[in-house]
Each structure stands twice: as structure tokens, then as C-alpha cells.
Symmetry: C2
Amino acid sequence: MTVTLARIVLASLVEPGNAVLARLVRTSGPVEALRQLLDGPDAPDDVASLSLAARARLGDRDPWRLAEEAREAAERLGARLVTPEDADWPTRAEDLARMSRGAATGLDVDSQPPVCLWVRGAGSVAETVDRSVAVVGARAASQYGLYMATELGFGLAERGWTVLSGGAYGIDAAAHRGALGAGGRTVAVLACGIDTVYPVAHAGLFEQIAAEGLLLSEWPPGATPHRTRFLVRNRLIAALSRGTVVVEAAARSGARSTARRAFQLNRVLMACPGPATSATSEGSNAEIRDHHARLVTTPDQILEEVGRIGEYAAPPVRGRATERDGLDALTARVLDAVPRGRAISAAEIAVVAGVSPTDARRNLPALVARELVVEDEQGRFQTRRRPVARPAA
Amino acid sequence: MTVTLARIVLASLVEPGNAVLARLVRTSGPVEALRQLLDGPDAPDDVASLSLAARARLGDRDPWRLAEEAREAAERLGARLVTPEDADWPTRAEDLARMSRGAATGLDVDSQPPVCLWVRGAGSVAETVDRSVAVVGARAASQYGLYMATELGFGLAERGWTVLSGGAYGIDAAAHRGALGAGGRTVAVLACGIDTVYPVAHAGLFEQIAAEGLLLSEWPPGATPHRTRFLVRNRLIAALSRGTVVVEAAARSGARSTARRAFQLNRVLMACPGPATSATSEGSNAEIRDHHARLVTTPDQILEEVGRIGEYAAPPVRGRATERDGLDALTARVLDAVPRGRAISAAEIAVVAGVSPTDARRNLPALVARELVVEDEQGRFQTRRRPVARPAA
């Protein structure tokens, strides 16, 4: 109980992901961490400086009262709190404590696991995000990007997977709508209090998501969204999902920060290809080009990456089958040498195909049997008047 | 002289790339190879069978007469012959004799180097193709594909590189036109006699190519194009160039056969990304997805792959620079916490940014100095009314 309240206070006084706080909580637990934070001065430097910020934010309010108020505010919205002490906690979030690849960047002070999560929606958080894929991308998406996000969201949900994203315009909203359209589950991870609808135009969408899936936030009710919070939030989208798909992202895009986190967490990173001429695909194409992201174009290709081994296998990209498919190379060459419109002899066919007359004579009957070639009374051959796809020269 | 004539006869009687003939020529030279071919019966099986086809094609004509006629036909077109005995021979073609990767497919009987080349155009073949990139793709290209092929052809030529392609509609023609538009050199490798214009609509284009670059063919004058010849020809496009770019290719496309050859030859293989929704990009996207091709979107990225080490380096994909760029992570966080439209105190900013008030106070002056933030008389801060790009949430 006090542990839960302590976590609420910590989440209210310190921005999520803070490395100093995470260390405190790991070593001393939430209650002791809060105590040290509130009588900061006689603490080591980094704690002292964090303590200053925390106490400035607390002001003259009573911490436990603050926690109660946050709980009440959440309850009024039908939201609940989930903490690492709960069975419902999505343990994958803890991977944030040990990011492996190239994670020593300036913003990584913000990369630690959440202290607690406010949740709207009936489902279990742990179970809902277990088989989930993050579908992220630009807010200023193109029609192509919106189409892809909707299709992938739909396809993943249709296959029983949960879609995970932010709550923004563009790719985020399209991915959620796709999943909802398939009657599936989708999770929006917010960068503000769970009582705040940002953007406001998504009020209806958020209600639907809360009804069919989950709304999650690390921030206490009342917290407003701002740039840093989006970037901090992105690490959680990357951590909670099995893999991240960047559908469409400009060279500079928050989606790329999510991608970077997924990469650092050794999560499967995927991206959709886009026209080289499209600014909204510059970032996603770059992730593929740099071999950070695997190119994906279909839900099956995504599940091939994130699914358990052998659970899914996307069909290789193939064109429509043609009648030539069954033929061995030699027979196919003979077929290619048979003209359309005029009949020639087996010897002539051999010449054009560059095979011996014997080979030509041996293979032509099979082609006649398959009705690919017709033989006339003079024993001359031509192909049936069927369009046979030619390769690009 | 007789060697040259022998090569012409061989090229007239046996389809290019034939493995048996290549072995004969390597071991016994062209003249002796021709002799063995013409009195085939008492030769080993595979030679005997090839000999049958060759003699069927020769009919009752005199081989040396045949060669002379081919030379005369070529001369009438202002075409010349180039053979491995000439200094002008593009030695890179010889790599076809030893393809390394997964080259054991049915059609690889056709993968050997050319016996000789008919050439139209003033330039040296060896020198013209030395710094060349193959730009290939679908005939039924999209507007996007045609645009990319033209842009890449133009950009490569502009940088002093030669464009290499086939003579087909779509990507081939667009790549040539792009190179010609830049006043550069471009080479069309034909799948028929150098006297044959296929497609006929490209008569004007071929004349331009012959004037500014080169037309090449392994086939003697009079040879007509057909499917197998396109595929055989593709190996030469892959071999002569330093690398191949697949601009746009359907799942089934001749361009993919060129790509496969480039891959087998350990040539740099590149592809342009395209919309997942575009059938004409299915093949090119698949080459990238399978890690056969490197994703490229600009001429500089292509030259980064094929150029000598350090000769070229494409600028990494970046968005427009913003005023935040100079800032360290901490200062950037402080900036992000400063509201637009209303002024707040340094302490409040520290709270929102999740940094200590000291850190906030220490960093705000720098932001004021950079005119990113304004301080009012009460020592409260707000950002200047400038749109600061937000990341996609």
C-alpha cells in the first residue's frame, strides 16, 4: 500500500525514466527512495540535485495527500494504477534498465523503466502487450503511409496480435483504427496524464481504445504533453512491444527515436519502404538502408520477424504463376524458341534455342501435350496464341 | 585475323554464353574450337551435341564467307568488332567464367563470357565501361520508376560515370535519356543483332546512344530478339558494370535476372525502395528485404557503393537543421520545457523539464542569448513565437 502510494508520489515529482531515481528505487525500494528524495540535502550530489527539482515540484503539499489525489482523479476516470508489484505489470518494460546497443546518448538519462502505469481499459496489461507490435510513424503522414498503417494494424489484429502506438495524428491513429476495424486490441501509450486527451480531436478514438484495448500513461493525471515527454514515452512503446514497425517517417521524426530505442533494446526493428521521392519516407528508408530495420510490406512479414520460430513464415514474394513454371530449364528454352504466329521445324527451333536438334525433338512433345505448343500436319511447331509474359529487356 | 573470323563464326553458330563452347575456346583457342565444332561427330558427347546445333545453323554455307558477310553487314552500319584479343576488350566480362555465388541454376549453361562484341559508337569499350553502373528495371514502369531512372541516370552521368542498361521501354530508356540529358555517356547492351532496332520506337534513342556512348551486342547482325536472349544478355549488363541498380521491378522481372547475375558476380547490387502497395516495386523491395541489394535513393549513395574507397561518401540522411541542433541534451530539455505564449519562472521550468532549478537557471541565459527564449522584467521566461518542429508523438 505505502509502496504503491510512494510510487505515485515518485511518478508525480520526477519525470519518468530518470536514471538517478531508478537507481534509488532499485537499491532501496520506492518508500526509502521517496524518503531520501524528500530530505535531499544530505544525499549524494546527483540525488541532491534531483531532490531539489522534486521538492520544487512538491511545493508545500503533503506527498501522501498528493498520491491520494492522483488516485482519486484516476478513479474518477475509471483508470487504475499498475505497479511492478502487481502480477499485471508488463515485465518487458524492465528491459529498459539494461539497454545494450549504443545507448550512451545525452537523452539516455530518461531511458529507465516506468515507476508505475496509469491504465484505462479492462484487459490485463501484461497479457495484452505480450503479443504486441508497435506501429509508429509520422503525424504528417502521406495517404500511402495512412493506408499502410491501417492495413498493418488490421492485419496484425486479425492475426490475434495487439497493436501498440502513441495517440497522435497520422500513423498512430491509422494503426489504432486498423486494429479496431478488425475487432482487435490496440494500446495507446500517452505522453501526458491519462485524463488528458491530446490531441483533443482523438477523444472519440481514445474512448474506443479504452473500450477495446488499453490507454497507458506513466504520468500522473493532470500532466500536460510536451516535446521531451513524447521522446521519453517513445522508449516505452519500444520496450513493451516485441518489435517496432516504422511505417513512414521523415528524416527527423519522433518515430525514429522509438526506432532507436527498439534497436538499443535488441527488439525487432522493421520499416516499410517508401518512394525515394517522398520526404515522409526518408527516415524509414534510412533505417532500412543502414540495416537497422528489416524491410516489411505485409503483416505476415512482420509476424515472421516477431513471432516464435516457425510460428509464422511469410510467403516469398512471387508473381502470378505461369505455364512455364513446371518446365525444366532446357524445355523452357525450347519453348522460348518456338515462334508465335508462324510454324517452324524442330531443327530451326533447336538453332534458335541453341540446343541440339535431338534435345529439341525430345522436348517438343511435352510442350504439345501441355498445350503450350501446337504441331501442324507438316510437323512444324508454333506456340498457342497466348500472351506469355516477357521479362523486362 | 583468322582468330577474329573464327570468333565471328562461333558467335554466329552458337548462342552466347554457351558453357561447352567457352571451355573449348579456353582450352584450344577460337580457331581450333571452330574446327572441332564443324567436324563434330568424333568429338565428346557434349561437343557433339553442340556441333549438331551449330552445323544445323550453318547449313550448307561456308563458315568464312559467313564471317565476312557479318563483318560487311556490321561495317555498313558503322559497327566494329571487338574481341578478347583487342586492347579495347572489357576484361570485366571475363568474370563471367567464374561466377561465385549460388550460380548452379538451370540457365547457367548460358552464363559464360561473350566470344566477341559488335560495337557502335566512337569510344573505347574498355574505357567507357570501366566506371559504369547498370541501371535496370521494369518495362512497364510507374511514373515514379521512370522519374527515378532518369534522375539516377542524370546524376551518375553528371558525376562522370557511364550508365549501362538494355534498350527496352521503361526504366532502360529513362536511364539512358537521363544520362544523355546530362551530356554523359550511356551504353545499351542489346539482345539482338546490332543492326536490329528493338523496340523500333527506340530508333532515335539508339542513334543518340551510338553518337554519345555505345551500342553493344554479342549477336551477329540479323539476330532477332527473343526471351532467352534477353536473359542471356542480362548477365553481360551485370558483368560489365561495377554495380547494378534495380530501380523498379515487379516480382517477376528480367531486371531480377540481371540482379541475380550481379549478386553471383559479387558486384554491388542496389535497389530503389518503392511503395509496398506498388506491384512494380515488389521485386526491387524483395531484393532489399532479402539483403541481396542495398537500398539506394540518390546517385551519391550509388557511388558510395561502387566508387573507390573514400572517393565518394553520401551525406547521411538528415532533415533541415533547426536552432536546437547546437544544444546539449540538458539545455535542449530546458528549452523544451519553456512554454510558448505565457511566461513562467525558472523553478517552474525546472519542474516541467525534470531538472534541478540550478540546472535550469544555469542554462536559460544561453537560450536567451541565442534568442530562443525571452526573459521578461519579472525574470520569467517564454519561447519566441517561432514554430519549433515537434516529433511525431
